[in-house]
Symmetry: C2
DNA sequence: GCAATATCTTCGAAATATCTGATATGTCGA
DNA sequence: TCGACATATCAGATATTTCGAAGATATTGC
């Protein structure tokens, strides 16, 4: 393994890009300008490439430089994370836990677990990100969360099964599908389906067997609104619509077969066995809340 | 961002663990023993933790130390990779391209593309890894390949659609399923299904709707063998069994409905837009071979 | 077109961090 | 208790990084 370039040198390169120049970078890092110049040159000569070209009196990133910049930035973040996690591991509760939970996971339970954590460790801050489809997976891969509730466990991570979510096909009582008696899956295809848009950067179309027409909604109340107005039908998680089912404002579609679908949710720690104390505690609380979901707060 | 610890210091820690002691680490890194001691102590004081405890006259990793060790090892690898990719980017063709292709992808086409690459850049070495199910995804996430043909594109990566693979349900002519006339999917459940085992570290059961009994095979000829002997049925990619279908040693099951399934394969560059010249060339060759699959070599 | 300004480079000297070699401290086994 | 072994510590040597000032080059304003 080579590692001719030190972290400080990478940091210099990054600062030059972020601050928009050698002088500004020097300021930001609290060093002299020539130190920056020296560090960047060292990278260039060691690797035999040019990271910047002088465009007029301004330094401009080359293609290669841009590549290095992005990768080095990740490298530094990673390095910082390692140091932090080390410090945390010795101090008991970490100061921040980031939870990313798929929107399918009942909010009630997530909040309940967070409350439990707050009682145990009041000084630990919490960031709660609600995600859709691949969003939770992405949070995991980018290390943007410490505890993740996701429908898919990426390879290389350990997932604990949390719960099974039941989806039912629903539509407003006045929707034409409710006039036809027993329905087959074929009947659904002819109608407009309301689906949730992926919150990941990369938009994956959710895999539900394709209706001809589909409208997509970002997560939030908007899809429910559209359902209530009879704009289409949807496969919705049971917990999301049980209020409306009781109230009668939505009704399950009378499907002959395949009237239910299931999805599974898993609990994953981003740091695996090295998850911090608070992360672990939160994870256990989530699992507990799934074992006996009655004990609401 | 902190980064109080330099890469060299992490390297010292790693060497101590790998070589089994400060003295051995010093030897391995070509430095004096006190330099190692100094570096490790610096880590410990900067982070306020203990990485090693003296157990008798031997240094032993603490829990925290173990965590640091593993993470630091990844960090160093990452750093090395960045430097290499930089060097490569300036030298035209990179010396090595690693291709990970799902076994569903026709070998013919992969080899054909590799041959094209070899003609263009004879000095570029190739590593070809055949993967199953999540294996290709894992190769991507762990950065164990530069060009990947996978059935699933992890969030955050850009995938180019390469081809659609048709699966058909097949069994040997003598298999009981062939005696029953038209079959429903229900009929299949009662019979033994032969599936391919995931090559990823984490074993995911492939998602095919569950038969009651399933036997799993690692990739290779073994499943075909079992099929030929009438040990069960399988969903097999068309290209894998067309020889046997022509020869009559396997026959498609006469399913009333759902007699075909489809999977899609995507081309992904691990380094996105910064893929090297050879990686890009290989990717383009793969795409070309999918556009006109006739021009075999 | 010319001076003033902004920006990066270069260079020798100074500051700092790291390394070496010798020695100290502590453990294990006989 | 002694000798072999393993890490810790210390003082001086070495290497690297940094600084400040002067130099080079392009932009700006007049």
């Amino acid at each position: 393994m080579s590692t001719k370039i030190s972290l400080d040198q990478w940091q210099a390169l990054i600062a030059v890009v972020d601050e928009g120049g050698y002088a500004a970078a020097a300021e930001a890092l609290g060093k002299s300008q020539s130190a920056i110049s020296y560090a960047v040159q060292k990278i260039e000569t060691e690797l035999g490439i040019r990271a910047f070209t002088l465009e007029g009196r301004r330094a401009k990133l080359t293609e290669t430089g841009d590549m290095l910049y992005r990768q080095a930035k990740l490298l530094l973040e990673e390095a910082g994370r390692i140091e932090n996690s080390a410090i945390q591991s010795s101090h008991g509760w970490e100061p921040l836990v980031r939870l990313a939970a798929d929107a399918l996971f009942p909010r009630q339970q997530a909040l309940c677990a967070l409350v439990t954590l707050a009682e145990e460790s009041p000084l630990t801050r919490v960031e709660f990100q609600e995600t859709v489809l691949s969003g939770s997976e992405e949070a995991l891969l980018r290390h943007e969360a410490d505890v993740v509730v996701t429908g898919r466990v990426p390879p290389g991570f350990m997932g604990d099964h949390l719960m099974r979510v039941r989806f039912i096909a629903v539509a407003a009582p006045g929707h034409p599908l409710h006039q036809k008696g027993e329905l087959s899956l074929e009947d659904l295809r002819a109608h407009r389906q309301l689906v949730i848009r992926d919150s990941g950067k990369r938009r994956l179309d959710s895999g539900w067997l394709g209706a001809e027409q589909r409208w997509t909604f970002s997560y939030g109340g908007s899809r429910r609104e559209a359902l209530l107005r009879g704009l289409g039908f949807a496969w919705a998680p049971e917990t999301e619509v049980d209020g409306d089912l009781e109230a009668g404002t939505l009704q399950p579609l009378p499907l002959k077969e395949g009237g239910e679908r299931y999805g599974d949710l898993y609990l994953v720690y981003a740091d695996g066995q090295y998850a911090g104390r608070a992360a672990r505690f939160l994870g256990e609380s989530l699992k507990a809340s799934c074992r006996n979901p009655d004990t609401d707060h």
